[in-house]
Assembly symmetry: C2
Homo-oligomer: 344 residues x 2
DNA sequence: TTGTACGCGTTATCAT
DNA sequence: ATGATAACGCGTACAA
């Protein structure tokens, strides 16, 4: 029965022989109290095991220690890495991460932002640039640091840290073309805004090179999965058997395509080139290893929380759109015979 | 500039022509105020856009609306599914999920629980039974509903919802034996408590059947990954080339083993049987489809949060250890020729 | 069923 | 550099 009353500032104050507000200051602005007092306070805090009450702090100050994070999915490896970066980055900084899962629904995103806004958050990290008008207004109304992640564009609400999905898709498509593939296909699932941007990059690039056909674009609004990747490739092969390479929306689909190709005894990369997106860990370990676009997921998370903390510490509100870029990681799944010769 | 003062209970009260406490009650216990008053309050709330201040609520009541969730990893598909269940389950219930990532470190788990404890959480969901003494004390000291997930055992702190990792491993091992494999190996990574239990189930079962050899156990303390699965299988084959089936710690390792086997032109399931653990979505889509142990991840999350909410609503503190079980999903990767004949 | 008085633990403001 | 006082917005306890 730990029915002992909670240790408060007053308890610490009387033990240290000072007033409560001095203890409060000693904890929050150590350099504004005298060295002697600070030492006494610190020792009292330790002896009593004092832990600040966030609710009282928030009520009195009008600010909370909550950093809201809005992501569209918790069951997506991509966001898992971002989250890890965020959690690693906050560390013991005294802030709490509050996660909101929008399931790719703008209305849920609005709900989440409204809730966050009502809590006077210390900071907000939100996925992408494609908020609804209501959500955008909520973001604009926030007095705290706001970071948009996972995308890059010219007009962040405040700060953004991401990369251009369009450019990444352009580069991936160029890679396929450079490898000599001439009848490119696209496999897409979910088709959220960023996926759409990737598709646009693919289409434009493939069109310019004269290797595009709308027949070879197969998408589904459903969530992506390995199973779906296999199914989409099946559909594509049924419609357009001439396809000689596919750019997949993401690595799950790409892996599914690899499996499906294998089931059909289609040689990869000989008869079919396969390129994924994100470069999840498994792509390098696959057989054959799968070409993908490496995206800076961990770093986006880390940099985003870092930006929030820095901004909080400095008391400034910067505006900046940071492009972390991407990298085409060419592997065997898109290495046509001519290229392979070098490796053998 | 939304510098307007925050809308408070008093504002709503004066608009509705009642006292603040009545508004408070109308919101929290609608059935205790008269119908007329309730209607007036509700309309006033809407007109003013009133949103309760959680900090004030918490400070006044001594309780918070935070449900703490302690998991060892955010970049693990297993926990992603559990989290989804939890987030789906809370819905708009008015509680906030606070996630703590222990990275499999007992000390971080203690920190997290200490932090939660200081916040008088509404509930706590924690992974597994194998807390440190300090963590166990913290759990025991909590006045709120506590649910342990992901494991099953006789002595939950309060409630537990999970399954027996030992039993699951026993069943998987039996399956391999039933398929006619006689030189079983084990691939393990991370070796956290639940992984250890799985290994114990494997060892005991394989020993009893006379198909165990310590040479064929290859593990690493590092995190599991597909790459690691391939590497571990390589190591195993170097040490014990006679191995004819491997039980993998989890699906990532199993997938890596599948790729490595393919690289070595080892036929699966003919020359090598491969069994994973968790039955992630990709296992069914793989080529060959991979046998695994289906674990109720989503349901554990959903049931855990449900248990917390129910307990909160009822004001009771039940004690119960719920076993959700598991299921061996036999697929081609462990189907020896004789069995395959039936399918062909 | 509704209201009054007070306190929750902290910080802002203004003094000293 | 330190302190006194008054909020912050809500819920509890008790009263009506």
């Amino acid at each position: 029965m730990t029915k002992e009353k909670r240790v408060t500032l007053d308890d610490v104050a009387s033990l240290a022989g000072v007033s409560a507000i001095t203890v409060s200051r000693a904890l929050r602005q150590p350099d504004v109290v005298s060295e002697k007092v600070r030492a006494r306070v610190e020792s009292a805090v330790r002896r009593l095991g004092y832990v600040p009450n966030p609710a009282a702090r928030q009520l009195a100050s009008g600010r909370s220690n909550v950093i809201g994070v809005v992501i569209p999915s918790v069951t997506n490896n991509v966001f898992a890495d971002v989250l890890r970066g965020i959690y690693d980055g906050v560390g013991e900084a005294g802030y709490e991460i509050q996660l909101a899962n929008t399931r790719y629904a703008p209305s849920l995103e609005e709900n989440a932002l409204r809730l966050f806004a009502s809590q006077k958050p210390a900071g907000v990290i939100v996925t992408g640039f494609d908020q609804s008008d209501a959500s955008a207004d909520l973001l604009a109304g926030l007095a705290c640091p706001v970071v948009q992640i996972m995308d890059h564009g010219p007009t962040p609400a405040q700060m953004s840290i991401g990369f251009s999905h369009f450019d990444a898709a352009v580069a991936a498509t160029r890679h396929l073309i450079d490898q000599g593939y001439t009848r490119l296909g696209f496999l897409g699932a979910r088709m959220d805004p960023r996926t759409q941007k990737r598709f646009n990059g693919f289409r434009q690039t493939a069109m310019l090179a004269g290797v595009y056909s709308e027949r070879r674009v197969v998408t589904t609004p459903e969530a992506s999965s390995v199973t779906k990747g296999a199914a989409l490739l099946s559909d594509l092969l049924a419609i357009a058997p001439e396809v000689d390479a596919v750019f997949c929306n993401n690595d799950d689909l790409a892996l599914g395509a690899v499996f499906e190709a294998r089931r059909r005894r289609l040689s990869v990369p000989g008869e079919l080139g396969i390129c994924g997106f994100n470069d999840l860990e498994m792509m390098a370990a696959a057989e054959p290893p799968v070409t993908s676009v490496r995206t800076p997921r961990l770093e986006m998370g880390r940099r985003a929380i870092e930006a929030v903390l820095t901004s909080l510490a400095a008391g400034t509100r910067d505006t900046a759109a940071i492009d972390l870029g991407f990298e085409i990681v060419a592997r065997e799944s898109t290495a046509r015979a001519s290229t392979l010769l070098f490796h053998k």
